[in-house]
């Protein structure tokens, strides 16, 4: 575990972040203020936030989950979560781009690739020259990931990969794809993971989805037609794909949990500002009790579920399996994000729905957090399985 170096010292002591992490958070806040001002425009125009992502790369935000020997900053999962909460509180499309790059692609490569593979791809990934995408879902396999059909047939020193991957975040912008494909019939043990580069013959970007939210993050189909994938692009061993996919998703879920925290916080801040603005001529609050109650409940849950997210991140940073804890973090934060965004629209009223404030965008962006990288329903079953009959 190359990313576990941070865990030598405590990251959170008595519920306070370490000074290093607080400093890092300030650094990220500075980035969001300088570079994410156009979030609403990117959304309206469904335009990929290229400049913000490049700026993030320059500031080193695309290498937090990569070991130092490969050019990363090895800050680990908790640092990534803190970063992602800040970024997503301003722009969820930028947020998910970075989350997938760091929490899915870089983390996966760092944990499962051999040294040669890491030396081959990390130089481009840590600088943001390349963005990464994670290609697991297909038209007929979403929550039921093991039902995937994409095929990888061994042919000498390479594999021939064919299939269509759906719902690929950053699909049209990524240069490196982690592709899960079937090397054998066995439902679970027949799945293997590969790195596929965009420029290889047979790789193409298919249909682009038009979505409710995170509209500036391109979600596309990735079509693989008889793509010759060199055998040295196999990640881990044949048949390890499903294990890799699930393990990686534990980390990915922490990224999405952090996205949800960011969206929730932004929504709660809108409500707070609205309440603060409701004063009579003498400066006394005229906000209604029911609105204050809603705000109070949301604010308490924000703190509570952030702790769940941090806890799971630290476990992962320490190399401890955190499947149940990550599922708790994702299922609670994603529901909170939706609840908070809906409340913001309700409480802001016409200003919440008209587009005059960020509320309506937050509501649309929030909705994806309950769906991708493991739907809420699946998270609940994961938690129940983890706690009712511990394995």
């Amino acid at each position: 575990m190359t990313t576990s170096s941070v865990a030598a010292t405590a990251q959170v002591t008595d519920f306070l972040l370490s000074p290093e992490l607080r400093q890092f958070r300030d650094y990220v806040v500075d980035y969001t203020k300088k570079h994410l001002g156009n979030a609403a425009a990117y959304d309206a125009e469904t335009k990929f936030p290229r400049d913000p992502v490049i700026a993030a790369a320059k500031l080193g935000l695309l290498r937090t989950t990569v070991a130092k020997e490969y050019g990363g900053s090895a800050m680990g999962n908790l640092a990534s979560c803190i970063m992602l909460e800040e970024i997503n509180s301003v722009c969820a499309s930028t947020g998910v781009t970075i989350s997938v790059h760091n929490s899915l692609v870089n983390s996966l490569l760092g944990k499962w690739c051999n040294d040669a593979q890491k030396r081959r791809w990390f130089p481009k990934l840590v600088t943001g020259e390349w963005l990464g995408a994670y290609c697991l879902s297909e038209a007929f396999s979403g929550s039921d990931a093991a039902a995937l059909r994409c095929e990888a047939k061994k042919a000498g020193d390479h594999y021939v990969v064919s299939g269509a991957k759906l719902w690929i975040t950053t699909g049209s912008e990524a240069q490196l794809f982690v592709v899960f494909a079937r090397t054998a019939a066995d439902r679970v043990k027949g799945i293997s993971a590969f790195v596929v580069e965009k420029t290889w013959p047979g790789v193409s970007v298919g249909k682009k989805e038009r979505k409710l939210g995170i509209r500036a993050s391109p979600t596309t189909e990735i079509v693989l037609e008889n793509v010759k994938v060199p055998a040295d692009c196999l990640i881990g061993g044949e048949g390890q794909g499903f294990t890799i996919a699930l393990d990686t998703l534990d980390g990915g879920r922490l990224g999405i949990a952090s996205q949800a925290l960011g969206i929730a916080r932004a929504s709660i801040d809108l409500i707070r500002n609205h309440l603060a603005s409701q004063v009579d001529q003498k400066g006394r609050s005229t906000s209604t009790q029911p609105d204050q109650w809603t705000f109070a409940d949301l604010a308490a849950d924000l703190d509570a579920y952030r702790f769940l997210t941090w806890r799971a991140s630290i476990l992962r940073d320490n190399g401890v399996r955190c499947t149940t804890e990550a599922a708790m973090a994702k299922s609670t934060t994603s529901r909170l994000a939706n609840r908070a965004a809906r409340a913001a629209v309700s409480i802001l009223g016409l200003a919440g729905a008209s587009g005059a404030t960020a509320a309506e965008r937050l509501l649309r962006d929030a909705r994806i957090t309950e769906i991708y990288e493991g739907a809420t329903d699946i998270q609940r079953l994961v938690i129940a399985r983890g706690l009712v009959s511990p394995s």
């Binding site: 309206a44 879902s137 007929f140 979403g142 929550s143 039921d144 039902a147 759906l166 719902w167 989805e209 038009r210 979505k211 409710l212 939210g213 209604t288 029911p290 609105d291 939706n338 809906r342 629209v345 309700s346 409480i347 009223g349 016409l350 200003a351 919440g352 729905a353 008209s354 587009g355 005059a356 309506e360 509501l363 649309r364 909705r367 994806i368 309950e370 769906i371 991708y372 739907a375 809420t376 329903d377």
Partner: protein
Amino acid sequence: MHNLELTEDQELVVDTVARFAADTVAANVLDQDEHRVFARAAFDGLAELGVFGLLVGEASGGAGLGFLPFVAALEATGAQSSSLARLWIGQLQCALLLEATRSDKLDGVMAGATLASYAGLEHGLRLQHGRLHGKASLVPGALEAQLFVVAALSDGKPVLATVEASAVTRAPLRCLGLASAGCASVGFDGAAATVLAGDAAAAISRAQFAAWVGVAATAVGAGFACVQAARKHAAERIAFGKPLLAQEAVVRKLVECRRQSEAARHLTWHAARLADLGQDGGDAAMQARLLAVDAMVNAADEAIQIHGGYGYTVEYHVERHYRDGKTLEVLDGGAQDLLQRLAARQFA
């Protein structure tokens, strides 16, 4: 479908609208919504069906059929398009207000020749010396309206007035929902207004009531539509070797959603019945509106979840219903206003 004991005339209107909604409206609704195209053809279609005078008395040239067929027909419309339903509600509110004030503009509005928008008291507009001041920050239909019927305060008292579209400043909005309803902000900026005669307060109340039951019925229709769409998807979608519909938790959600919309429907009918009997259906109408919109948002939310990634795309109807539901919620003063009114009526 319903259990409303409608007259033959009423039944005819409801069936006609339901067919029009299912056959004609449904065809373009996704595309128009995605590209924020105003539902002009559908509006004109409703005009042709002659339903804008549904609630206007026969003496004034309307059909005088009452609220029951109105809510039944709006439920069928809401199942397809909340944008269209909201336009209809606005047009009909204007017709009611113009009837109450014996305005000569009533005929054009009833016929649909004049597209009218109503800006209610919630916008805090003021009338002074025959001119309107203030801004309505979100009015459905406003972008395309030829005529505005406006409720404003004049010396602290409610008055009604009409304003020509040419006299106001309109700005299109990227609203959360109702993307085909031509939502806009409207600046009145001293626009010359024609003050309408008659009992403004009573007329405003009736227009409010029409919006409450109308939105309730719209949301009931949309809520059921979400359940229906989710059921269809769940029956077709295979996961873990069986259709989603075979999963208990999925069906449980649908049962819960349906139960909520069903309850809202009965409150809506109850309110409409009371009004048609000349009784006060205000409480029931507000309760129905609150419950129905909550049920619609919840049903759309669950339907999106059942659709998974598909539900997050604009190719399915459920994300549209989700946005529309939240937008319906904040109109007409919003849920907060209704709750405060109910509090005052029931517990003051």
